[in-house]
């Protein structure tokens, strides 16, 4: 894959849930290296659905999905994608299912056939990076909402993804944790698609924003214009 080629290339994607009108209607999206795309849209507009289609969790009715230069059609085509694209779920309780934090963070690397010691080392390193040292033996369901969110991000980053799909990572977080999460994402040298309803958060973390409405994407310039009217927010 050369640098001019998009990492994610969706062409004319159409999707609808049975018995309902189309959620995505001939939608096109390209994510290039270095892109940090924000996705805005009202509830039920199809933002999460779009990310699920990229991950192969939902199959579009029609259209073409090309990721890292490969055209993906069948479910098994997506298996190799899971290592390269990390998906942070909206609800951290969906993401964290192992009894302890260390086991949860090491789960991905172990699935990538890493040796046990190496997986533990990766997990510890990721937790250190996110400022979660000492969380290794904490029971996942006993973590606070903010801690769960950060540990969820650790589970994704431990797999060494080249791209992230972040589904409302800031929802339900207090200002301190939100800022911490924003700093972490800003420091990552990685492309991502971010869904959020918080305009300041999105403005701070993206270089391109799209609005999804009636199944189609359109560029939204208002968010970054909004940023310039708030001098306290900086890239």
């Amino acid at each position: 894959m050369n640098n001019n080629q998009p990492i994610i290339n969706l062409e004319k994607i159409t999707f609808g849930y049975p018995g309902q009108k189309l959620v995505l209607d001939n939608l096109d999206l390209k994510l290039y290296k270095g892109d940090r795309i924000g996705l805005l849209g009202s509830n039920g507009s199809g933002k999460t659905t779009l990310l699920h289609i990229i991950m192969g969790l939902l199959k579009p009715l029609s259209g073409k999905i090309e990721i890292f230069g490969d055209t993906l059609t069948k479910k098994k085509d997506f298996i190799n994608i899971y290592q390269k694209i990390g998906f942070l779920f909206q609800d951290a309780d969906d993401q964290l299912f192992c009894p302890t934090v260390l086991e949860d963070v090491a789960f991905g690397p172990l699935n990538l056939n890493k040796k046990k010691d190496e997986a533990i080392m990766i997990a510890r390193r990721t937790l250190d990076y996110l400022g979660l040292s000492g969380f290794e033996n904490r029971i996942t369901h006993k973590l606070s909402g903010g801690e769960k969110k950060l540990v969820s991000l650790a589970t994704v980053l431990a797999m060494g993804p080249e791209t992230l799909l972040l589904d409302e990572p800031s929802s339900g977080l207090d200002d301190g944790t939100k800022q911490k999460l924003a700093n972490i994402l800003n420091d990552l040298n990685i492309s991502y698609i971010l869904i959020s309803h918080e305009k300041d958060f999105m403005a701070d973390l993206t270089n391109k924003v799209y609005v999804i409405d009636k199944g189609k994407l359109s560029v939204c310039d208002k968010i970054h214009a909004h940023l310039h009217t708030h001098p306290h927010i900086s890239h």
Partner: protein, 250 residues
Amino acid sequence: MINETFASGNSIMHGIDPRLRLIFAAIFSFTVALATQLPVLNQALLLSLILVAAARLNLWDVIKRLGVIWGFLFLLWLVLPLTIEGEPLYRLGRLTFTRPGVFLSLQITLKANIILLGFIAMAATMDLATMGNSLARLKVPEKMVHLLLLTYRYIFVIEYEYQRIIRAAKIRSFRPGTNMHTYKTYAYIVGMLFVRASERAARVHQAMKCRGFKGKFYSLHEFSISWKDWVWSAFMLLCILLFLYTEWSL
């Protein structure tokens, strides 16, 4: 819900290797369950009390746990002495309490309390995550272990969802009573809980797939056996051998 009241602590019992505690909890329970002699049960009761004392547990919490089975045992005491045939022990009008009936009730009461005390001291003094990992190390089938661990993980989430639904009903003035409206409401609540649990399971499965899940879970827990574990195991083994000797020698 699961409170794991006894799981944290720094007593001798909490420090013993969880695998050994589980093994001896099982052997102890079988020995007590199969014992027929009262002296054996007395010895076992003494051992279970020593173990509870060694675990330095809150006595009131232990009694509350035992209270769960006492109601059931009370029913046995009401029925067995009157229904088991044998030598009469006491007559109350037309009711006859028999010696074998009372003996059987006493045996069941002692056995149930001893086994529960033993499990409180040996098994309840570890959290469920440790128990799951210990069972995995003891070669209990993986699927059963992970079923246990996933249930443990999500029972709290489902309970939280149940509380949310109940709150939603209460703030709309729902007051349970003995009427069709209440039964219907509870049916909706349980139905909704199943739907949400099923949706949750689908999302968790998706999250697992996104992290490369191939049908295998991994346990990273490391256990090591120290000299304290060996001493404790030797003590437990001696006690169990004493029970067996007493059982067969009487």
